[in-house]
Amino acid sequence: MASPAALRELQRELETKADDLNKIQKDISKNHQVRKKYTIQLGENELVLKELDLLSEDANVYKLIGPVLVKQDLAEANANVRKRIEYMSAELKRLDTTLQDLEDKQNSKRDAVLKVQQRIQSLQAGKAKA
């Protein structure tokens, strides 16, 4: 009859939709991790900025680049840190929107999966009755 074939088809559809859902969920978790990292770094940078502001003009600032400790200008260091902070905030915002999109897509996929499942169930119930 047509119903076994239809059933199989529906099941395949269910699998593909479930895969999509999984992918989206992985994306969402990755997004979360990146966001966390960025958030921590942002906090650190803000601390650094605070301390740098407390420094007097003639203090020596060094930056550790790899194994090398390089002397830096206070003003330069300030500017760098500020720029980093701005960059990281922008990144976070971008990540937020991406996360939102991913979540929406996840919800819609979930609904689709549910619908397919329901159809399968109804089909099976119909077959069982018949």
Partner: protein
């Protein structure tokens, strides 16, 4: 449990908070709690390290140089000297180091220590919340396991319109009601049950006040069937009121085509209605209010007066009922007063619910009128202004409407078979009226005044 049967509901706590789920919740909260605790330990470690460092940094400048064992690689040391004891390269973060003196370093370290402390505080607060949550879950789980039950009862006095709580069947739906009013009850909601109970109360009060021995019996009987009929009566009352109003309005609005038949009688009734309604003066918020007002009106006036009014009301109501299909209405206390068989019948049909409310205030009478007026437009001959959900028998009513009699005697559909005649004299007058207006009176007038319920029971 009887309580549930009567007015209340007993809910085992386990049903609301399943035992396993509560225990699972407890476990979850405990896990989170332990995580937070480990974080707290880490923070404490940091704070102690910071304090040690501060002490060291303060101690170092005490000498010009120190002889130390310098670590060399992973597993070796060699003897050496620590010089420049007041110069510190402090890591600020993000790879930035700054040269500071001992005092300045100590200041930086102290600031860091404060930041750590604030983090610890917030963590502790979170843990407190989690602990409270865990204790709540634990208590609920243990209670549910013990089989504690939650007993709920209606507070009928106040909360007529209270909706069912999500936990289940309407509490306000005593079984006795449903028996009698299956047809109507299905549609009605708790309001009617409220009205019914009110009706009962009012009836009882009336009986006690207005009647002698006869009524005792009636009261007893009434008490038995009150719930059943009260609803219907209230409905009938409402319907009648609506009819009356419609009639009334129609006359005013020249919508008399439908009323043409009943005009004279209606006019009489309407006039009576007006009188009654004038008493309550409050504005009619809504039909409900109005009805209530009318009821209140009735309530407030003495029983006799109310009886009179009821009489007239019932008459008018009969007519109204016939002409009205539905009335969105109000639970009116008219029901209590009016309950003539016809009325009740009609009310049943039209779903008018008249509730006798203990004292709504004068506005009731007015309300009734207003309600009637609202229902003015009788689109069809019998279409009455919408009765609130009560109108199941609307169609039947409609059919009857032209006849003008809603068959007080009884409708097999309805629990009430006849008009309910509240008072002896009322009954008589009403019955005569009814006879005049319609053919109903099958049950109407026994030689002696009988409680309306009795009448209905024919």
């Amino acid at each position: 449990m009887e309580e549930a049967a009567k007015k209340g509901r007993v809910t085992p706590l386990a049903s609301l908070f399943p035992v396993e789920e509560a225990q699972k919740a407890v476990r979850r909260v405990h896990e989170t709690l332990s995580e937070k605790e480990s974080e707290l330990d880490r923070f404490r470690g940091f704070i102690s390290d910071n304090t040690n460092l501060i002490n060291l940094v303060q101690k170092l400048p005490e000498g010009l140089h120190h002889n130390i064992m310098v670590p060399f690689g992973k597993a070796a040391f060699f003897p050496g000297r620590l010089i420049h004891t007041n110069e510190f390269l402090v890591l600020l973060g993000e790879g930035y180091h700054v040269e500071r003196t001992s005092k300045q370093t100590v200041e930086i370290l102290k600031r860091r220590g404060k930041a750590l402390q604030s983090q610890v505080e917030s963590l502790k607060a979170t843990m407190q919340d989690l602990k409270a949550e865990a204790s709540f879950f634990g208590i609920t789980a243990s209670e549910a396991a013990e089989g504690l039950v939650e007993i709920r009862e209606d507070y009928v006095e106040e909360n007529f319109t209270e909706r069912e709580s999500q936990s289940g069947p309407p509490k306000e739906h005593p079984p006795s009601f449903s028996e009698a009013d299956k047809v109507k009850v299905a549609v009605e909601d708790e309001e009617y049950s409220c009205m019914v109970s009110r009706l009962d109360e009012l009836e009882k009060a009336e009986y006690e006040a207005g009647y002698g021995n006869e009524t005792h019996e009636d009261i007893e009987n009434v008490a038995v069937s009150d719930e059943e009929y009260a609803r219907m009566m209230s409905r009938l009352d409402e319907l009648e009121k609506e009819e009356l109003e419609a009639e009334f309005v129609n006359e005013r609005d020249e919508d008399n085509a439908k009323l043409a038949v009943n005009d004279e009688k209606y006019a009489h009734m309407i006039a009576r209605l007006d009188e009654i309604e004038k008493e309550p003066e409050t504005e009619c918020g809504n039909e409900r209010d109005e009805d209530e007002k009318i009821k209140a009106d009735f309530d407030q006036s003495s029983d006799q007066i109310s009886l009179d009014k009821i009489n007239r009301f019932s008459e008018s109501r009969k007519l109204l009922e016939q002409t009205k299909d539905k009335k969105s209405a109000t639970e009116e206390t008219l029901d209590k007063r009016d309950t003539q068989k016809d009325l009740t019948d009609r009310l049943n049909c039209t779903g008018l619910t008249v509730q006798s409310r203990p004292k709504e205030e004068m506005s009731h009478g007015k309300g009734l009128v207003h309600g009637i007026m609202k229902s003015t437009p009788l689109e069809k001959a019998l279409v009455l202004p919408e009765v609130k959900e009560n109108v199941q028998a609307a169609s039947s009513l409609r059919s009857e409407a032209p006849l003008q009699d809603s068959k007080p005697g009884f409708d097999s559909r309805k629990a009430f078979t006849g008009s309910i005649i509240e008072r002896a004299h009322n009954m008589q007058t009403s019955s005569s009226q009814q006879a005049a207006t319609s053919s109903q009176s099958t049950v109407t007038q026994p030689s002696k005044p009988v409680s309306r319920f009795k009448m209905q029971r024919r």
